[in-house]
């Protein structure tokens, strides 16, 4: 299982803020996105594949090829707008 967290427009578009999900053999973020798309449908694939989406694994910025292991915290969010 990995912990998924969604912020801002990503959360609103998916209608989910947090979830615990089985990885079903996925070993990278990209594979996890594929697994989630198969599990929840094309909306998830579309939202999680957006060009400007940002990803953090265990609270550190990560790319699509970043490895994931069970227990990881994986967050998806749009470009940041602080300050």
């Amino acid at each position: 299982m990995v912990k998924l967290i969604f912020f801002a427009s990503i959360r609103e578009d998916l209608g989910v803020s947090e979830a615990e999900e089985a990885v079903d053999g996925a070993t990278t973020v990209a594979e996890l996105v594929q697994v989630l798309g198969l599990r929840y449908g094309s909306l998830w694939t579309e939202v999680l594949s957006r060009e400007n989406i940002l990803i953090a694994v265990n609270q550190a910025m990560a790319g699509l090829q970043h490895p994931i292991v069970p227990g990881d915290e994986v967050a998806f969010f749009p470009p940041v707008t602080g300050g």
Binding site: I5, A8, A56, F77, P78, V80, T81, G82
Partner: protein, 153 residues
Amino acid sequence: MQTKISVQTVEFDVGEETRALGRVSSQVGAITSFTGLVRDINEQAGVSGLFLEHYPGMTEKQIAEIIAEAALRWQLQAVTVIHRIGALQPTDPIVFVGVASLHRGDAFNACEYIIDFLKTRATFWKKEQTAAGPRWLTTRDSDVESARAWQKS
């Protein structure tokens, strides 16, 4: 170096934060601060309110990293970063960056560096309430440029 980082819903007191920065050491000669306010225009639309969220844990870690980078570049004695989250109105203070140093050049540079990277790297998100309905803001090109400029210097 002394560091204070707070992500909070309540308003901060610039006077109290500045005094606290000055108390760190009798060597502090310069305190610079940046206070960001919610403007009632952002790009085009009239903004009636703002909602801010962050990534608890990660955001604070990112702010600590930005401060640590500034401390490598300049001689700093204390840094305070306060960022508000939740519902805010136009003219509300939203962010405070305060820097105490022996010399003002270091204090000015570090203060500007920290706010430039807060704007482009820290996990905060703003949703504006406008006349045309709510919308999530995206990173401003001018902010990306400001942050990029530091990488050349």
